[in-house]
Structures are given as C-alpha cells and as structure tokens.
Symmetry: C2
C-alpha cells in the first residue's frame, strides 16, 4: 500500500498548488478576522487554527470556484467563513465529545475549559456571518445559514443515537449527512454560486461535496477502529468508549448473535467496559466484515462524488478534485 | 414602595398591549421556527421558551418599529431572530455558569446536559440567521451578526474577569455592554432600520437600547445580592459563589481594608467559601454603600435611555418605552 499512498497524498498537494495564492489569502484572512480586543479569543482560536488540519473545506470552496471559472476574490472571504464555521463546530464538539485529542494536540477544551470553548466557538460562528454579510450575497447567506442549522441538527441527532443500539444505517446516514457532509456540500456550492454559474452546476458542485463528505465521514468512522489511526496521532476506539453508533458497529451489532448483542449493549449502552472489550469489539467487526463494508460504502459515495464532476469540462482542477476523492478514501490504508 | 410598584409593572403590560397582535405573531413564529425533525430540538427549545420570561428584547424591536411609524410585518420575523439569539445565549450560558436555576425552573442543562444545551443553542442561533436571510435586508444582517460577535466577546471577557479581583469598573462596563446591552441596542436599532428611518433615529433607538441594557444588567447584578431576588424565584449569591466581579463587589473591594480585601480574594479568587461568607459579603457591601451606588449607576443609564427618546415625537409607545426604563430599574425594589 505504501507505494499507492504517496500519489494519493500528492492529490491534496496538487489541489493546494492549483489554488495556492487564494489559499494563502484564506490563511491571512483567518488570522486577521479571528482577532478581538478580548485576548483569549485569538489565543484559543489560534490554538485550533495553528493545529492546522488540511483546511479541506475552504480548499473545496476555492477549487469549486476555480472549476466554475471564477476570477474575482470574493471566494477567499467565503472560504474563510466556511473554515470559521468548521472551527466553531470543532470547538463545540470538544464540549460534546470530551475528546482528549484533536489532530494530535491537546483539545482547546482540555486547556481552557468548556466555557471558553463554547464562547469562542460562538464568536467564530458570528464572525463567519459577519464575513458573509460583508460579501453581501443573499444566496450565499441562505446556503451557509441553512448549512449551519443542518449541522446543528446532525450533531443533536448524533447525541440522540449515541448509546442507542437500535440506531440503524438510515439514522446513521442522516447524522453524518448533517454533521459532516452538509458543510462539504455548502462549501462546494458556494464556489459555484460566487462564479454565477447556472443552477445545474451549483447543484452538481453541491452533490459532489455531499457525496465526498459522506465518504469522508465513513472513512473517519472506519479509522476509529483501525491501527492506521495511531499513525495519525489519534487514539483508537474513542467512538467505542463514548458509545457512538457508527456504521462499523451498527453492522456488527445487526449481524451479531444474541450473546454478541448483549456484549454490544453492555459496552455501548451501559458504557460498562473493560480493557479487553475494545479488542473483542474489533474482532467481532472483523468477523462480520463490517469494517470492510464501511469502506465499500465510502467507495460507493466516492464514485458518486466523481460522477458529479462530469457536469464540468476537463481541467487540471477537475482532475485534482477527482483525485481528492481518492485521497479521502485511501487515507484508510 | 408597594404603591409605586404597581404602575411600574403595569408599564410592561402597557407596552405589551400596544404591540399585542405583533407580539402574538412573534410567539407563533417562535414556536413554528424552532421546529425540527430532530425531536430533542423543539423539546429542549420549548422548555426554555415555555419558561416564558418577559420577551423584553423582541418587545423592544416591535415597539421601536412602532415608534418609527413602521406599518409592515417584517419586524415580527426580526423580533423572533432577536429572541432566538437571546435564547441561544441563555442555553450557552447554562453551560458557562453552571446555573442551577433559570427563571425559577430547572435549567435546560440540568435536564439534558451540556452537550444538548450547546447544540440546541447552535441550532437556534443558526435558525435566527436563516430568518434574517429570509427577510433579506443586509443592514439588519450586519447589525445582528455584529451584535452576535460582540455578545460572544462580552461573554469571554466576563470569563476572564471572573475570579479576578483586579477587575475595575471600566472592565465591568465593557463586559455588560457586550453580554447584555448590545442585544438590547441591536433589537431597538433593527426596529428603526426596518421602518427606513434616517440614521439619526436609528442611532437614537440604538442609544436607547444600549443605555437600557446597561441599566438592566446593573439591576440584575444588584439583585443577585438582594432579598428581593428570592421573590423572583432565583437564588441569592450565585455571582458570589462563582466569583463573578460585578459592580457591587468591585466597589466594595476597592473601598475595603486590607483585611477585607483578603476576605474577597479568598472567596472570589480561591472560591474558598463557608456559609457565613455570603452574609458577611453583603454586610461589607452595605457598609461601603456599593449596592446603593450600583442602583445609582442604573438610574444614571436609565436617564440616558429616556433622553435618547427625545428624538421621537410624543406617542403612547414613546411613553410606554419611557416607563419601561422605570420598570427595569424599579424591579430592584
């Protein structure tokens, strides 16, 4: 796999290279616009921003705009909005998930506490809307304000399905569409809207982002049970310890014997876990092929994402966006 | 005081009566627009909405629009936005303050937990922006998105000043302007903007709201150390237990002997408190006149609010808005 992996990781670099100066504009705008006379705000926001991450979502806005032939500079500010909304949800997720590690660093929550994470998240979210209002396009505002509601709905839906082994694949799909894929979709759609493209292309960009986002989250949920995860500086089994009903678990539970179902309920509903339980859970997933099937689903949505790009003429950025689909999926290997 | 009090409480009723059908529209819109297929959202939002409260902020938007001669119905949706933003901050405050009681009922946080409070707050906040975007006025969007940032900044500033006895009156004023008065100001300003009034009137309405909001919060901070508080179904001394540096404390600390300063530091910085400490703190405030002076400041800002109304022609709604200033202050008695 090592040999295959390099070209895939290179896909991200290729896309970054195509929108390099715009992306530098985004990075500058992020730093400029997270400023506040209240010093804790840029401190805490800077912590999560410095942690870097791939900046995949603003990258999608920039690339979508490029694919749609946009030549202005409004997309830089809008890509910053998208990243601020994402950062705000990360900060609020830290409260939500009590996650100890985020991108291999201490979470903001662990350093500054719940209260600061919530409030700085609120600030970034508000600032995102200020940036959108400065841009002044009501269609963009409608897309991103709706996306924000849908994200919150997805996060609440996830809260409800957590510790509930009755959760089925359809409910899971609704959760990940809301909490993850909607912002991918909106990030892409905004790129087409800013370019003033016909509705069919806006729709195609949105479909691309939605399918990519679903694939991305499926791989994330796969990785939580994968040895590969440790290489990424994240702990394995976070979802298991929190009792999250992700697809690998849902499929293994549904296919499990009564005895296995009792095991899953104890671990995920009652959260009564011993150190042996995670390895046992992973063995059950292996036995029922639920990890492999999760990746198959990711590949299915990846294919949908690639097909959505058919609406656009060939161009280096189209190739790069297609390769990004592979990148998102192949990081599982 | 009893005899004076009735007409003051009646001031709120008088204002409500003047915009009654609009207010019913707001109440309907609140219930309609907090709906979501994710059942926990309307459940939790309904809990805090059912708790009622005075709906002072949307009332200000409706009254300001009326004072400015507005005759359409856009203000109903915008007043709903204002209330949604307020409700979102209440939900996030519950995480922040670990407050046990809110309006005499169990806080949403105590019932559903931190995570749900954060996420449903996010939903209401996003929904507020969706409503604004539906309205489609960029000036309104600019006012309310900026207000949201300023509120978050005020809340973070409060977090920083908590447990810090070095906090002075200027820092305190910045905190309450941000966390409370800014939304009062924006709520009023939006009423003038929707009516398409000249900038001087927008400014006057904003000034009215800002001064009223400051007075309102000063009285709130006074009430936290007042016996009157218990009659309102709230506990006394919440701010003391959390180590919040409100004006009654700031003034008493500054005027205190070295021994008293040591007392304040132990209680508010180290949060080492015995049951005798709150009564002792209240006695010190009495001794230094800091509670009385807090009310005097409230009256000063109340007078500023009243003066801001001079820009408008006499009308029943102007009288009612003037009386509302008294109502906000006199609830201290």
């Amino acid at each position: 796999m090592e040999e295959n992996q390099k070209p895939k990781a290179a896909a991200l670099d290729a896309l970054v290279a195509l929108v390099d100066s715009d992306m530098q504009g985004v990075n500058r705008t992020i730093v400029e616009r997270m400023q506040s006379p209240v010093a804790l705000i840029p401190q805490l926001a800077g912590h999560i921003v410095a942690a870097g991450g791939k900046r995949l979502r603003p990258l999608l806005t920039l690339s979508a705009a490029k694919l749609c032939g946009y030549r202005g500079d409004r997309h830089v500010k809008l890509a910053t909005c998208v990243e601020f909304i994402h950062t705000a949800t990360l900060l609020h997720d830290d409260v939500v998930d009590e996650s100890e590690l985020r991108r291999g660093r201490q979470s903001a929550n662990a350093v500054w506490g719940n209260q600061a994470s919530v409030l700085v998240g609120d600030f970034l979210f508000s600032r995102a809307f200020e940036l959108m209002v400065e841009d002044g396009n009501l269609k963009v505002l409608a897309i991103l304000s709706r996306a924000s509601s849908v994200i919150a709905e997805g996060e609440v839906a996830q809260l409800i399905t957590t510790n509930d082994t009755d959760t089925d694949e359809a409910a899971y799909l609704e959760v990940i569409k809301g909490k993850t894929a909607e912002l991918f979709a909106a990030a892409c759609e905004v790129g087409a809207v800013v370019a003033g493209r016909p509705e069919a292309e806006e729709r195609a960009m949105r479909d691309y982002g939605m399918a990519l986002g679903i694939a991305f989250q499926l791989v994330d949920d796969y990785l939580d049970y994968s040895a590969k995860q440790e290489a990424l500086g994240k702990t394995v089994g976070d979802d298991f310890r929190e009792g999250k009903l992700t697809l690998p678990v849902i499929l293994a539970f549904q296919r499990g014997s009564d005895e296995e179902k009792t095991f899953w309920r104890r671990c995920l509903e009652d959260l009564e876990q011993t150190p042996d339980d995670l390895p046992h859970a992973m063995a059950l997933m292996q036995k029922h092929g639920s990890l492999t099937e999760t990746l198959e689903r990711a590949r299915f949505y990846g294919e949908q994402a690639r097909r959505a790009l058919d609406a656009f003429p060939d161009a280096p950025v189209k190739t790069a966006l297609r390769d990004i689909v592979d990148f998102c999926i192949e990081r599982a290997y």
